[in-house]
Symmetry: C2
Subunit: 333 residues, 2 copies
């Protein structure tokens, strides 16, 4: 090991007091007498001791960490949300730890794991694999539209974009461009279901026809590719396609190419989430910006309130999404 940094033990020894007393001084405890306080502070200055937050937090029985639960690192929707969480929780002195249950061995309830790590709070960014209930849970905020268990489990604080409004925005965009024969690719998440039914209802109300297809699994490049290939082969009249998220939409773009369809000339394609994948210049996907950063910021603020004990009733925040028009949508030719 390199030259050692002075530790709390060195300070205790130099001040001729116990380690616990040094801890109390570091926490500004009123229990410490003036003489001991002065001796400890002199030792800290003399040794150049830098109290680690780790030690201070352990002494105070906190870890100052927040666990974030997601279900797929390769679906990049969560990246801006985590940045938003940092914007508020980081300022509040908390650090985030992200666990992806999809890469996991599933041997243990991830909630139990966070408890083992002694997180002070949790952010749930997926349909929870188990009921979020039981003793000793820290404060929890749910981000995104999620399939949550019904009562008698408690309501949680939640922050999401308005997925129904997002679905309607896509319907209005495609129909507004002149598309009347629409396709939709869905998957088995709570958010996808909301996007689908709002898209179908709005498109139908605007005089368009929608053929939807979906499966119960997770979104993947392959699911988007295979789903779009089937849908476009069965319904060659489709000129506008809405996929429940960007990952599916990029799979659909490859299906269109392999079917000889030019995007957007022959087929317009829209995703959801406005991830870095959609923004990549090679992809340049029209998509719905679900305000992931703002969702994270608001979720972080709610969680801070709750961890400080100042929040009361669970609150549900819903933010209005916006359409990001890029290169994959145009009027039908």
């Amino acid at each position: 090991m390199a030259a050692k940094r002075p530790t709390i033990y060195d300070v205790a020894k130099a001040a001729d007091v116990s380690k616990s007393l040094v801890s109390l001084v570091l926490q500004d405890s009123p229990k410490v007498g003036e003489e001991s306080r002065r001796a400890v502070r002199a030792a800290i200055a003399e040794l150049g001791y830098r109290p680690s937050r780790a030690a201070a937090n352990l002494a105070a029985g906190r870890t100052r960490s927040v666990g974030v639960l997601i279900d797929d690192y390769t679906n990049l929707w969560f990246v801006d949300m985590v940045r938003g969480l940092h914007a508020t929780l980081g300022r509040g002195g908390y650090r985030l730890s992200v666990v992806d249950v999809a890469t996991d061995d599933q041997a243990e309830d991830p909630v139990e794991s966070f408890l083992a790590m002694r997180v002070d709070g949790m952010v749930v960014g997926m349909d929870p694999p188990h009921a979020l209930a039981g003793d000793g849970l820290p404060p929890i905020v749910v981000v995104g539209t999620r399939d949550l268990p019904e009562a008698p489990v408690p309501a949680f604080d939640s922050v999401a974009n308005d997925d129904a409004e997002g679905g309607r925005l896509v319907a209005r965009h495609l129909v507004g461009l002149g598309h009347r024969r629409l396709g939709h690719l869905s998957v088995g998440s709570g958010a996808a279901r909301v996007r689908r039914s709002a898209f179908e209802a709005e498109a139908t109300a605007l005089g368009a026809h929608v053929h939807s297809t979906g499966w119960d699994g997770a979104a993947s490049d392959e699911a988007g590719y295979e789903g779009a290939k089937r849908l476009l082969a069965d319904h060659r009249e489709i000129t506008g396609l809405f996929a429940a998220n960007d990952v599916l939409a990029v799979g659909a773009l490859a299906a269109a190419r392999d079917l000889g369809l030019v995007v957007p000339g022959d087929l317009s394609v829209v995703g959801y989430d406005d991830t870095s994948l959609a923004a990549a210049r090679l992809v340049s996907l029209t998509t719905v910006d679900d305000l992931s950063f703002e969702v994270g910021e608001r979720a972080g603020a709610l969680l801070l309130d709750r961890m400080r004990g100042s929040a009361t009733e669970p609150s549900s925040v819903v933010l209005p999404p916006a359409l990001t028009v890029r290169g994959t949508t145009a009027p039908p030719r």
Copy 2:
């Protein structure tokens, strides 16, 4: 809250013993007498108490968690590595917690944060932002080729693919296809530097000319796009382009398209990492498979040994990478 699960306190009460004694029984401690043990076990059975691993681990002074440090969630190279870590550490009863310093507020040394979370071990998947030195660090394994501080800090266990061999594989592939005028896009990481110098040396030895360009920042779609656009405009003779990773390569594909170059007819492009981005059907990028899953598996095994105290000298594992040929490379026309 929902119907409460029985807790360790309920068990203690039913067995008329202390909570600490229940803990000792759960840990199979030899300190507990037969009578107390039987009373506790009867209470556990009667109440249907399920000891949480959290409680057991806390009692044993462990968190059974491993911290993983990366520097960019949007560069998907780490996903398979984390899966590999899970394959060994998950079996060993450990859970992973991934922290991305790029989304972070940088207010605190991430190593300190992991200490605050009381991780039992750490995996470092980036050029470390600070010297990995100091008191009380848990066992650490470095994954990937990293810029590590020189002595006197200690050597760490490390697992990486052979980035020099990967660079040579790309040179042989492009020159073997008939390309003699090559370009290279680099960035400011330890791994990128090794890939670059091996690629340049091998291509030159094989009779090709290489124009390299790079910048000191992180890999991004924009860096790949702008770098490739400049390089290909300045050197219109280039027919084969190697980018230091898949993210840069996808940016380069967009630059080629915007310059009117057909891939692979006019320009062959190769990435590095074999991420899900490279495998997406729309991208179908030729790249180097750096065995991220196996790197994670081996790193997890080394860390397990070290956390169990059975490892001795630091060891360096280097795995041979392989070329994954997809749709972005072909002979020059």
